[in-house]
Structure formats: C-alpha cells, structure tokens
C-alpha cells in the first residue's frame, strides 16, 4: 500500500540529531541548568533564578575582563587585516614561487595554539629565550612575567604571528580571482596603483575580507591558550581575559553557577557582535543582490 507520508525520514535525521545533541545541545543545556541553580556539591541543587546573571553583569571583574577582550580583538583586527592584505598584495600571482609562498603562509596555521604559546614563552624569556636575551642585550627592558605591557605585546605578537596567515590566504584567494582584464582596463584608463587597489582589488576582496574579519574577531574574542601558557593571566590580572577568568571561576573557585551564567553571557556577546559585524558589513557592501537583476 502506498502511503504518501510516513515517518521514515525521522530515522534518517536521527543520527545527525544525536550527534548534535551530544556535541552541542546537551552541554549547552547543562550550562543553562547550572546558570539558574546553586549547588554545594552532593548533587544538591537550589533554584537561583536570574541571581547569577545579575551578579555577573554587576561585577567589576566581568567588565574588566570584557574590556580587555574588546581591546585585544580590536588591536588584533587593526593589525592583522591591513598586514594580511599588504602581504597578499605582495605575493606573486603566478610562477614557481606561488606554492612556496602558500606553504610558507600556511605553516603557522598548522601549529596548535598551546605550541605557539610555548614557542613564544620560551622565545621571550630573558634568561634563555633568543628574543628576550637579545632585547636584554640591546638594553631594552622586557619581561612579560612582570610587566603588563610586555605581556600584552607578547600575546598580540603571538596572535599576529599565528593568524595573519589566515587573512593573507583569504585575501590572496580574493586577489587571484580578479580577471587580468580588470588590471588591463585600469592601465588603459591610466589609473594609479592606489586607485587600482581602491576601486578594483578592495571591492573584489570585500567578501573574503568580511569572512576574515568575522573569523578573526570570533577567534580572538575567545582567546585563551596564549595568555594561559604565557603567564596564566598575569602579571596580576593584566591578561585575564574572559575565558581565563571563566576557567578560574569554574575550576579554580568551583563557582559553577556564576561561571555558567558568565559563559552564557560570553557566548551571547560573541554571537551578537558577530551578527552585528556580519549585518553591517553585508549592508556596506552595496551590491546587495536582491536589489537588482542578477545573471
């Protein structure tokens, strides 16, 4: 008998549903569960309502860390995006050096966070690190373990070293997709190098740059490993970003309730800012496809 509808589809969706449940929904709901309850161990829970959220949003500690995150992400974006574009522009478009450059650019991306952290941690040490020793020899006082500015600079350099390549590769992909005829047309018009960049390369790259900005923002806003490996959030609280504070609160102090509330706020902030970024940048991109005829 032919049934136009049956429930077979559920069986096909089930594996994906189970996977997503295990990997995302269940952990998230656990966090939600913790964020509205209080526990003193022994698996005893007491309803706390929005108490933890109120506490987190009113705590100076949270906003300090939050501001550090904002400052860090902003600095990273301001450095990495222009630097990545400049490097991409100076890479060869064809020839035997292309694969060489691409591999060179991909190398930092292949190194795990904590290894990058360790590399720079050792590199920057004044007693045995090449960089630290050299700076010391030059008479520049540099010590990330005691000086907050040095610690910040080190973390920023780490991130730039680690992730500028991503911006380079994305920009490069955008650049090589520009047909040669555009450059010819610009030459015939007598356009300067800057004008070629401003009116051809940049508009043609804006989509990949949008992705680069989004990825770099999300990633840098969730910075954890580098400051953790370098100084564990110090000196003092100078590199205690939200993620580090969160771990301290949850695992160090075992304040599960406030930590859960904080991680939810943290998650929502990343989501919200990414969404704002995306909407603003797609609107700036005047070529909204729904407006006109596409072919």
């Amino acid at each position: 008998m032919d049934k136009p509808f049956n429930n077979k589809a559920w069986f096909l969706v089930l594996p994906v549903f189970i996977l997503v449940a295990i990997s995302a929904i269940i952990p998230l709901m656990t966090v939600v569960n913790y964020s509205v309850q209080d526990t003193f161990g022994n698996n005893q829970f007491f309803w706390a309502g929005t108490e933890w959220f109120v506490e987190v949003l009113h705590s100076q500690r949270f906003w300090d860390a939050f501001l550090k995150n904002i400052a860090f992400s902003a600095t990273i974006l301001v450095i990495e995006i222009p630097l990545g574009i400049v490097i991409a522009l100076s890479m060869p478009k064809r020839g035997i050096w292309v694969p060489f450059c691409l591999v060179l650019m991909s190398l930092p991306l292949l190194i795990p966070w904590n290894v990058v952290g360790t590399i720079w941690q050792v590199f920057g040490r004044a007693d045995i690190g090449l960089l630290g020793y050299f700076l010391d020899w030059l008479g520049i006082s540099y010590n990330y373990a005691t000086n907050a500015v040095d610690a910040w600079i080190t973390i920023i350099i780490m991130d730039v070293w680690h992730w500028t390549s991503l911006v380079v590769l994305l920009s490069y992909a955008g650049l090589v997709s520009i047909p040669e005829a555009y450059y010819q047309a610009a030459r015939i018009d007598g356009a300067s190098k800057w004008k070629v960049f401003r009116y051809i390369q940049l508009p043609k790259m804006n989509r990949v740059l949008l992705i680069a900005v989004l990825l770099r923002f999300m990633d840098s806003f969730m910075v954890y490993t580098e400051p953790f490996v370098l100084t564990g959030g110090g000196p003092g609280n100078s590199t205690t970003f939200l993620s580090i504070d969160l771990v301290k609160m949850a695992i160090g102090q075992f304040d599960l309730g406030p930590a859960a509330a904080m991680s939810l706020v943290y998650f929502l902030v990343v989501l919200l800012v990414s969404w704002v970024f995306f909407t603003v940048m797609t609107n700036l991109d005047a070529d909204a496809p729904e407006k006109g005829v596409q072919d």
Binding site: P179, A181, Y182, Q184, A185, R187, I188, D189, G190, A191, Y199, I200, L202, P203, K204, A286, D287, P289, K291, G292, V293, Q294, D295
Partner: protein
C-alpha cells in the same frame, strides 16, 4: 591612420604573432576574424600597447607609438568579460576615464548622460554593475569606451558572453555608435557571420599571421588561400581532393563536367572547398557531381538542418533549409555543383572561386 609594420611577438621559441602588417583608416571598422588561439587577443594587446612587439613598428598618425605608455595612447578597450569598476555606480564608471583626464564637472555630466542615453542606461545610472544584467554591464563598459573619445577602440569579442537577442541588437548599434567618433575600430571575433554582419573590413588570422585583409564580403567570397576560406566559414568548409583532366573533374570515381570558365584550369590535382549550403540533398537541374555518402548525425535547429555525412575519409557538413528527416546510417546521394567550388592548388592558394562571386571583389 593606424598602421602596424611587420610586427611580431615572440614568446619563448614560438611566435604568437608573426610578421603582421595592417593599415587601418580613421573611422573604419576592422574585424579580426580567427579561431581561438589564433592570436586575436595578443594582437589587440600589441595594438593597445599593453605588450611590446619583439619586432616591427606601430605608427599612429605618422608617428611611432612604441615608446608611448598605454595610458598616454588614448585608446579604449572592451573585453569579452564585463569589466567595470565594481564599487562605482554606472554613472561613476562611465565618468571614470574623463575624471582621470581632468574634464570639468559639467562636461563630464553632459557626456555621461548622452552616452547613457545612447546605450539605454539612463535609468540605471545609480546602480552598481553587479545589480545590472549582463547586457547592461557590457553596455556600461561600451559607454565608458565611447565617452573616452579614444582614437583607437579595441573590442575583444565584446558580445560573446551575451545572449542571442542582445548580441543581435548591439551588433547593429555598435558600428554606428563608434563610427560617429571617427575612431579606428577593431573588433575581434571567432564568428564568420559576425564579420559579415558588421561589414567593414576583415583581417583573417591564423596561427598568428594575417592571411588576408580586405573588405569583409570580398575576403569571404574570394579567400586567397585555404586557411582563410576555412576561417571564414562556419560550419567549416567541406574539403575534397579532385583530379581535373580536360573539361572534367573526378572524385572517388565519380565524374562531372566543369563549367565553361573552369575548363581552362591546368590539368592536375586540386583541393576543392564547398560551403555547407552547397551540398545538396535534392538533385538540382544542373549537371552535378553525385556522391553517395553515409549520414553520420543530424542537427536540426528549426529553420535549418546540419547534416553530417561521411564519404570514405571525408567528413562533410551539409546545411539545408527546413527540417529534413533522414535516418542516421543511411546512404544517400548528395549533389555538388562544380560552379560552387573553390579550387586550391598544391600550396593551398586559391586558383578559382565561383564565377558569380568574382564581381563582388571590391
């Protein structure tokens, strides 16, 4: 006047352009006709000054322009792809070359609006190119070339990426629009019928050489050699090797008598070219060469049918009007009239073309 003097472009060991000489008059329309990779784009790049020839000279208004950089040459170029500044509006795109040359604002505005009028872009001036259809994008690029007042306008297969109807429309408008500017217009295409429809002059290009240059219709009717005939025929001209003796030709055992004007050809072997529409499936009243051939495939376009036929090692295409129902694999007689034949000698040079076309030489 724009003149190429024996220019060549050597890349590595091979020539991309070999010993090309051309004289193009002001206000003339010149078609570069050749298959893909025949060197049309390379030649255009040399004309524009985007590349330098390895040999030869380029003369513009009596002076060599080889040393003049491309942005100072006052040329315009339109490509097969629709090339516009992506972040600028249509208005700004059309205005861009004039902005660089420093015209006054009101002059620019006037020119942009009149070009937009001609190209039917008036209502789209505030849009960016990606919000336009392909045809409108290409018209923007053409408008930009038009307002520039360039002395040399290079159009590199400008209509190839457009749909059929737009192509027809623009093909009619283009020569007229640019003729008014008095520029030397060069138009590259792979399509023989486009060269004929545009009129003007045609230079046929084969493997980097100009095989012939002259009025489009006369190049078509009297190609100097085999490769020109092949380039200027779509579908390709059908070839057969014949033996001429006395007043007769012989092909694969079949014989036909020649028309009066061809009897005087020296006896011997010739390559013969026949245009697809001259292979007839219905026996005509005249005396013809009758060949039995096998039908390989047929393509029916509605008003016309292309019938691919095979005869020993020869593969021909017959173009017939109307829809013909023939069975694939069937053997049918086809009729070739010797007065439609183009005769080529052993060096592929034309020795005789159909008599009725010779009057149209000039």
């Amino acid at each position: 006047m724009f003149e190429l003097k024996n220019i060549s472009k050597k890349v590595g060991d091979g020539y991309h352009i070999r010993d090309v000489s051309l004289r193009l008059e002001k206000g003339s329309l010149n078609v570069l006709l050749g298959p893909t990779l025949s060197g049309k784009t390379t030649l255009m790049r040399l004309m524009a000054g985007l590349d330098k020839p390895t040999e030869g000279d380029i003369i513009f208004n009596g002076e060599s322009v080889l040393g003049v950089p491309v942005q100072k040459r006052n040329i315009a170029m339109v490509y097969q792809q629709f090339i516009n500044y992506p972040a600028m509006t249509v208005y700004e795109n059309i205005a861009s070359p004039m902005r660089i040359s420093g015209l006054s604002k009101s002059d620019i505005d006037k020119k942009v609006r009149s070009a937009a009028e001609l190209m039917k872009l008036s209502e789209f001036l505030d849009r960016t190119p990606l919000n336009l259809s392909g045809g409108q994008q290409q018209r923007t690029a053409l408008a930009r070339a038009l307002v520039k007042g360039a002395e040399l306008v290079l159009l590199d297969e400008p209509l190839a990426n457009l749909d059929y109807k737009l192509r027809e429309e623009l093909r009619v408008e283009l020569p007229r629009l640019f003729a008014e500017t008095g520029a030397v217009l060069v138009y590259a295409t792979t399509e023989p019928h486009e060269a004929l429809l545009l009129g003007g002059n045609t230079a046929t290009l084969s493997e980097g050489r100009i095989t012939q240059f002259g009025k489009s219709i006369s190049v078509h009717n009297n190609p100097v050699d085999l490769s020109t005939a092949q380039i200027f025929s779509d579908p390709p001209m059908n070839m057969l090797n014949v033996k001429k003796s006395n007043g007769e030709i012989e092909f694969e055992g079949e014989k036909a008598s020649l028309p009066q004007e061809l009897v005087s050809l020296p006896d011997g072997n010739y390559k013969v070219g026949v245009r697809p529409h001259h292979i007839q499936l219905v026996k005509p009243s005249e005396d013809t060469l009758t060949v039995t051939a096998k039908i390989a495939t047929t393509e029916i376009t509605g008003s016309e049918s292309f019938i691919h036929i095979e005869k020993s090692d020869y593969q021909w295409v017959a173009l017939t009007h109307g829809v013909h129902r023939v069975d694939i694999g069937e053997t049918v007689p086809v009729y070739l009239n010797p007065s439609d034949f183009f005769f080529f000698d052993g060096h592929d040079k034309l020795v005789a073309s159909p008599a009725r076309l010779q009057g149209e030489n000039n």
